[in-house]
């Protein structure tokens, strides 16, 4: 037996193409996902140098950031349209497979990769998008890259990467009833801050993580970047394997069984060591709501908004003040007393079928509060179709939600789905930065259940107090 290794080291070691003193490792990339916003300059770079795409079959493109979620083919914004048209031109010219706006597999890049089985344990996965960390849920090493690196991967199928330090985020015990993966990751970031993961790849371990579904693990890994880590992953196990069985691009039949056996071997070895470790108890976690302008500014639903006077440092004090001003909130105000005007259920964090199902359970036969405009944006066309097959669209529409086509939508408000200045949104996305959902928009990050509950009440409420139907 060799030295006990983490899943991160195992994947790394299998992908090093070249090592040289004084340089990072040259790492092979198994899957390169591409979208319209961060790729045009990369394709243009190839064109200027007369270069080709080395592995079109390890590359997959879709349109998500700009796509309208209503009237799909009426793209009013000329510049958006041009960017989408350009992706089509680039994919045609360089032979890259594309799920364009009318393709049945179109959707948010981090939703469709797993859904199609392109995302698999042990793969190295990159995309010109920081939430590429999502794919880590499968025990893949997946991280975001910039456009120069997109060009580099297109041309060489590799990236230069310093071997990362490893960080074990261990979540002990069980999550309480009604507590979701979103609450867990918000609580982790709330406790340890927005940069505790900088320079590391996180492996999430512990009982609470093992008990999560693949959807839950994707929600957790998705927000690794909000903790500063470029990548976050979970060792593959039976849950992972069962999720992938039968997916379109996963190995089939006997090949699948063989692959599954190898995937299991990837899990971190007993006794493997990490460069750092933090621990947290799942039991202590309540439903979370962010109150400020970064994801660490979050509190349990039962708590009051912080007072800058209680800050431990001058810079914290300034940050809190600044955030309260932007968010138009009062110090010491209970978060449950804050009225909202918008609800967004969607994004690569929380727009999968399971997310929509759980939100729909909270909605039941209740109605959206008259002061609230609420939209549901499925993560992919596949999710949309599946949701409609089981009647989720009816539950939402009957309650007064808008039921949209797939895309990033109000997560970053690039496609025209925006929150107006000075208005407040309960959002299932991952970033509550200033202006993220529109200039002057005030974003509160929550789980799909909490968002659904807020849509109905018009305020943030503890979802555990809403009548949860017994199955």
């Amino acid at each position: 037996m060799g030295k006990a290794k983490t899943v991160i080291e195992k994947i790394w070691d299998k992908h090093v193409v070249h090592q040289e003193e004084g340089k990072p490792d040259l790492l092979y990339i198994d899957l390169h996902l591409v979208h319209e916003v961060t790729s045009p300059q990369a394709f243009e770079g190839l064109r200027l140098k007369g270069r080709t795409v080395r592995q079109p079959n390890r590359t997959f493109a879709t349109m998500d950031h700009n796509v309208p979620t209503i009237h799909r083919n009426v793209i009013k914004d000329e510049i958006s349209k041009k960017q989408m048209d350009q992706l089509k031109i680039n994919c045609d010219e360089f032979g890259v497979p594309l799920a364009g706006i009318n393709h049945q597999h179109q959707g948010i890049v981090h939703v469709i990769g797993p859904e199609l089985g392109l995302t698999q344990p042990g793969k190295t996965i990159v995309c010109g998008d920081s939430h590429t960390s999502t794919h880590g849920a499968f025990g893949a090493l997946a991280f975001g890259i910039g456009t120069s690196e997109v060009e580099h991967v297109l041309a060489t199928q590799t990236v230069w990467q310093q071997k990362p330090k490893t960080l074990n985020v261990k979540i002990n015990g069980k999550l309480g009833v009604g507590i979701t993966a979103k609450d867990l990751i918000l609580a982790i970031i709330g406790k340890f801050g927005v940069k505790f993961g900088t320079g590391y790849v996180i492996e999430y371990t512990g009982e609470a993580i093992r008990n999560l579904s693949m959807e839950g693990r994707m929600t957790i890994c998705n927000m690794s970047i909000e903790a500063g880590a470029r990548a976050g992953l979970v060792s593959p196990d039976e849950t992972t394997i069962e999720f992938l069985r039968g997916r379109k691009y996963a190995p089939q039949g006997e090949d699948f069984e063989k692959a599954a056996a190898e995937w299991k071997q990837l899990a971190s070895d007993e006794g493997a060591t990490y460069d750092a470790m933090v621990e947290m108890d799942a039991e202590e976690i309540e439903p979370q709501v962010t109150w400020g302008t970064n994801p660490s500014m979050c509190i349990p639903i039962s708590a009051n908004i912080p007072n800058p006077e209680n800050a431990t440092s001058e810079s914290d004090k300034n940050e809190i003040k600044h955030a309260l001003e932007y968010m138009a909130l009062e110090a010491d105000q209970p978060i449950s007393s804050v009225p909202i005007q918008h609800v967004f259920i969607g994004s690569c964090t929380n727009s999968r079928l399971a997310d929509l199902q759980r939100a729909a359970e909270i909605v039941g036969d209740k109605k959206v509060h008259p002061d609230v405009r609420a939209i549901v944006v499925p993560g992919s066309q596949t999710v949309k179709t599946q949701a409609e097959e089981i009647g989720l669209d009816r539950i939402f529409i009957d309650a007064g939600f808008q039921w949209r086509g797939a895309g990033c939508s109000m997560c970053l408000a690039m496609n025209g789905d925006i929150v107006p200045p000075g208005e407040r949104c309960a959002s299932t996305s991952n970033r509550n930065f200033e202006g993220r959902q529109g200039a002057g928009a005030q974003t509160h990050l929550v789980s799909p259940e909490m968002a659904a509950a807020a849509a109905i009440e018009g305020y943030f409420v503890d979802v555990r107090k809403m009548a949860v139907p017994t199955a």
Partner: protein
């Protein structure tokens, strides 16, 4: 890309921590398909009001910082999205060096791919530079060969960065061309490395 060895320039202080890439360049400007012309949209929501008019009270709009080429900011600069439009906007505006106590990983990397030098100093050092630049017209020199930052008044600090990134910046290399000198190694690797699916049928 342009090599960078030493740079002397005017300092612009941005005394905020966790400046994210949505702040550096908001999403409505990410729709362009070229690399140029992002500078006018830099820090858009801080520099412009709701009517798209310049806010004269925002520091970067003040005439004294007009020619600034070194930005000094607080902790965790460039967090958030991977958009390379952020360094493109900073560069197009005229910034060649960004100094902060810490940077988000992807942003740091993106800077070095574009010939922008990211410099990590300690909290105290960065704070001192911010104080200096807030109180007067303040110039700094950054020397990448010596890995030092200094002014004409006796301030001096050392910084570090990975050797590879230092060389790339010093020489302004085309990284793809460098990598392709290892093309045979990539070929050999691919021969024995199995990836599913073999083809994507779309």
């Amino acid at each position: 890309m342009e090599p960078i060895r030493t740079h002397t320039g005017l300092v612009y202080p941005l005394n905020r921590a966790n400046v994210d890439t949505d702040q550096i360049i908001p999403k409505q400007f990410l729709k362009r398909i070229s690399r140029q012309g992002f500078g006018e949209f830099l820090f858009y929501n801080w520099r412009y009001d709701e009517k798209d008019q310049l806010r004269p009270d925002f520091s970067l709009n003040k005439p004294k910082y007009k020619n600034a080429s070194i930005l000094v900011a607080g902790d965790n600069f460039g967090c958030g999205s991977s958009r390379e439009h952020a360094p493109w906007a900073l560069q197009d505006f005229g910034f060649k060096v960004i100094i902060a106590p810490s940077f988000a990983d992807i942003f740091y990397n993106n800077c070095t791919k574009n010939g922008i030098l990211p410099v990590r100093l300690t909290d105290e050092e960065a704070q001192q530079l911010i104080t200096n630049a807030e109180s007067k017209e303040y110039k700094l020199t950054v020397d990448l060969e010596l890995k030092k930052v200094y002014d004409s008044e006796g301030f001096e600090a050392s910084f570090d960065l990975p050797q590879y990134q230092r060389e790339m910046l010093l020489n302004g290399w085309d990284e793809i061309a460098v990598t392709l000198t290892n093309a045979d190694k990539i070929d050999q690797f691919e021969e024995k490395h199995v990836v599913y699916p073999k083809t994507i049928t779309n």
